[in-house]
Amino acid sequence: MSTEIEVPVPPATSGSFLSRARDQLGGWWENPNPVWVRELRQSARLSRTPVVLAVLTVMVTLLISSIGGMASVSARPAKVGVALFHTFFSLAFLVVTWLGPAVAASTISSERSGRTWEALLLTGIGPSAIARGKFFAALSYLSLYVVMLAPVGALPFLFGGVTATEVAAAFLLLLLFGALSVAFGLAVSSRFWNQAAAIIVTLIVAIPLSLTGYIVLGPVLSIAVNGVWPVVPAGPPVWLPTAYVRADFGFRYFVLLVAAPAFSLLGPVWLLYELTKANLKDTSDDRSTGVRIWFVATTPLLIAMLSSVAWLSAGAEWFAASVGAFFVYLIGVAVLFAGEPLGPSRRVAVHWTREGVGRLQRFLGPGLTRANTLLAVFGLLGFALLAAAAHVWAEVASGTRAQALGVGAVSAHLAAFFVFLVGLATWLRSRSSAAGPPRLLVLAAVFVFGVGPWIAMAIAGVLAKTDSALLMLAAPSPAYAAVLYEKVAVGTLTSHAGIVPAAVISGALLVLSGLGLSLLGKLRIQRRVSEERRWVEHWETTFATEPAPGPDAPAP
């Protein structure tokens, strides 16, 4: 046996990024992901799949035909076609965003609960290949539903009122939402060892998100887009395919209808993929670099997208909203990074040394101080760039200096809170041996600071008196940025002279606290990391020289 079987060693990868990418793609084409192939085989033999597909198709066909039949009695065919288009794709959106996560949620957790996971993991196939295989398997399964529904979805086109391009674009968007849904389900699945629990948790989160997304991204956003392109109707849920056909092509079209939706869908898919990979790794593995690269790549893109959207939407409040959106994004990342390991594990350190890993790659690797330094630098740069963009916009476009100052004030206020939050996360993680508690405490701090002062004022009855100077008591809250914007940019709240000084004082205190906590946390991390290093070195020597326990060895 030993002489018969030889395990081939994979060739070392070298050359430029492009050639490596080409090789990788070629490899995927010639040797498709085994997990994907196996999942497809298993799905093909699942007897319930054709039954479920047939039932769903028949039900949707009957529904669409009924609506079409009833509507065509009194309405023109074109109007019926539009109504059917919205009905079908609204239903399809819900099917995709509910079914996708549910299907994906069972993939990894079912391997674990079915006790096939260990065998798969020990093949050495790697978390990336497993995550990709599972992702494409779930997406293929979901696509089967979309393809089965395609003839029904094409019916509205026959009635008129919508073009073939709109229908095709709607299907493409459906697949993109499917990819996002599957990535979400997979990320949840990668955290669970019980299939039923994974599906339940996924659906508990996915259904409200899906309904909220349907309303916000549908009717609500269509009203905003109608303000930019009046040819795009305000109110209907499926407006983006219509906008692709009817809006004037240009830079604005590219940014608002292509870049922004693609970024909004694919950015989270990438993050969820990285999180899935990280969850599939051991705790001693490098679980940080993938997420860190995602952060480094997407943050500048996000800043560019937010400032472009605000610029093209031509309103100072859009800039302020962009700063707010960026702040929310940074909170999410801060919570994520609050669970970082204090430093590279022994395993990672040995691999870094062995492979001669450079400083940049090490900087992107595990380590809380590195993570939060990166977060702070990118976050503060982002706030500065968004404020600068608002300033330039006010100079060259129709904005006023006050509006630019207002956006600047919002940026500064939120940046101060952000510095505090990063410091708090560093300090909390430095005192914890696990990733969960610091994350929860950071979230709790955001909640307490975010709404705490307002709740306190509401209880005290201060909020009822809109002209009360006590409003400044909410200065530590990030939500106080809205008050600040009102005061600086809009010019209301003129009687409250203390609003800006209160923001300055609270901002200064938050920054000082944040820096202090960062410093304390960093010192503690250094101490813990060096203690652990000494301990590991001591035992390395001991293990290397310890003889085999013989019959006369002392009892353990």
């Binding site: 030889e6 022994r346 691999h351 085999a548 019959p551």
Partner: protein, 387 residues
């Protein structure tokens, strides 16, 4: 240039475990476990439920990180290089699952792809070795439990690992499937694989294992070749027996037990009566008669029972007292006062034997049914001495 005598290069162990600790919450599942498994050995890992066997195995298989300690497979640290270790081991977990809706061949081809084994001949070779050829197009769901287990063995052989780690490979299998798995393991031993397996079935382990390790409450009680362990325990018993014999010469049995050496008062120093001469004991006692079945035929080997005794004198003296007695087929004196007895009879017979020895002035300190050696070692090290 002259060369000095070449010293044999020590072969590093296939598995090296040092000071292994694992903690779940506040509970130490493993406590300072250290042992080696040599190249080509079949190492049986034994212990009661909850002893920490599976935890140790999962650490060895890179599925669990130890709280402390080091495990090396073929010299590679499992905590540092799990990917390399995974290429060197084949791990079959206890109650492992299988993908049900694919055929046996598809199953093995999938794992071959996942391992990066490109040659299809490898799958054929493994199917041949595990005798699954006639089932290769059958759905995995249709296989019996024993065949699924055999499929698992086939899976772990695909990448030709040097070390096989099997957690309870014969659990839940019927006798035939157990025998088949055991034969397969023996065949793998012929291929010079190092096999580390845990099992509750001690007789099975004793058939195939070259070494064992016994774990209890997270602590390794003993590890090494079965013969060595047995000798070591025997020597310890002898030492203890001698110590007790020496003690008995100066102290009367406590708690008013009958003084076998002839003393009268409890707890007082006594002078033992002289040991009877062997020839006086060699004559069979009248109560014991010849060894035949009621029909007059000799008692078959399988019907004989075995008893181990330990006496506080020369075992040959005790053997002489029993030899040729009714129901006694064979008496083998051993070291340290140990005595092995083959007999036919019930518990009354055992009581009669003991009474006979005592009456003959031979102090008896232990009486136990003789077990399979591995069973005896297991009981001795996990519950203290058998006496």
């Amino acid at each position: 240039m002259t060369q000095g005598p070449t010293e044999p290069v020590p072969v590093p162990p296939a598995i090296r475990v040092r000071r292994l600790w694992h903690r779940f919450g506040r509970f130490d599942v493993l406590r300072d476990v250290s042992f080696d498994v040599g190249q080509g050995e079949i190492f049986g890992f034994i212990g009661p439920n909850g002893a920490g066997k599976t935890t140790t195995i999962r650490i060895m298989a890179t599925l669990l990180e130890p709280t402390f300690g080091r495990v090396e497979i073929e010299g590679v640290d499992v905590s540092v290089d799990p990917e390399r270790v995974r290429r060197m081991i084949g791990y079959m977990p206890d109650h492992a699952g299988v993908y049900e809706r694919i055929t046996v061949r598809e199953y093995l081809e999938f794992f071959a792809d996942a391992y990066g084994v490109e040659q299809r001949e490898v799958v054929d070779a493994v199917i041949e070795l595990t005798e699954l050829r006639n089932l290769s197009d059958r759905l995995v769901a249709a296989l019996s439990k024993g065949l699924k287990q055999r499929l698992q063995v086939a899976r772990i052989l695909l990448h030709d690992p040097q070390v096989l780690i099997l957690d309870e490979p014969a659990s839940d299998l019927d006798p035939r499937a157990r025998i088949e798995i055991r034969d397969l393991l023996l065949e793998l031993r012929e291929l010079n694989k190092t096999i580390f397996l845990s099992s509750h079935v001690l007789t099975e382990l004793s058939d195939i294992c070259t070494s064992i390790g016994i774990l209890e409450r997270g602590q390794l009680l003993v590890a090494g070749p079965i013969g060595e362990i047995a000798e070591r325990l025997q020597a310890e018993r002898a030492q203890a027996a001698e110590a007790r014999a020496a003690e008995a010469t100066v102290v009367a049995p406590p708690f008013g037990l009958p003084d076998l050496a002839g003393a009268t008062g409890a707890g007082t120093a006594v002078t033992p009566s002289p040991m009877p001469e062997p020839q006086t004991l060699l004559a069979p006692t009248p109560a014991l008669s010849p060894l035949t079945t009621p029909g007059g035929a000799p008692v078959p080997e399988a019907a004989r029972k075995r008893l181990r005794l330990r006496v506080l004198c020369d075992a040959r003296v005790a053997a002489g007292a029993l030899s040729g007695g009714t129901g006694i087929h064979a008496v083998e004196p051993g070291a340290g006062g140990a005595l092995s007895l083959q007999y036919t009879g019930d518990e009354n017979f055992v009581a009669a034997v003991v009474r006979h020895l005592v009456v003959s002035g031979i102090p008896v300190v232990a009486v136990e049914p003789e077990r399979n050696e591995l069973e005896r070692i297991f009981l001795e090290v996990t519950r203290g001495e058998l006496s």
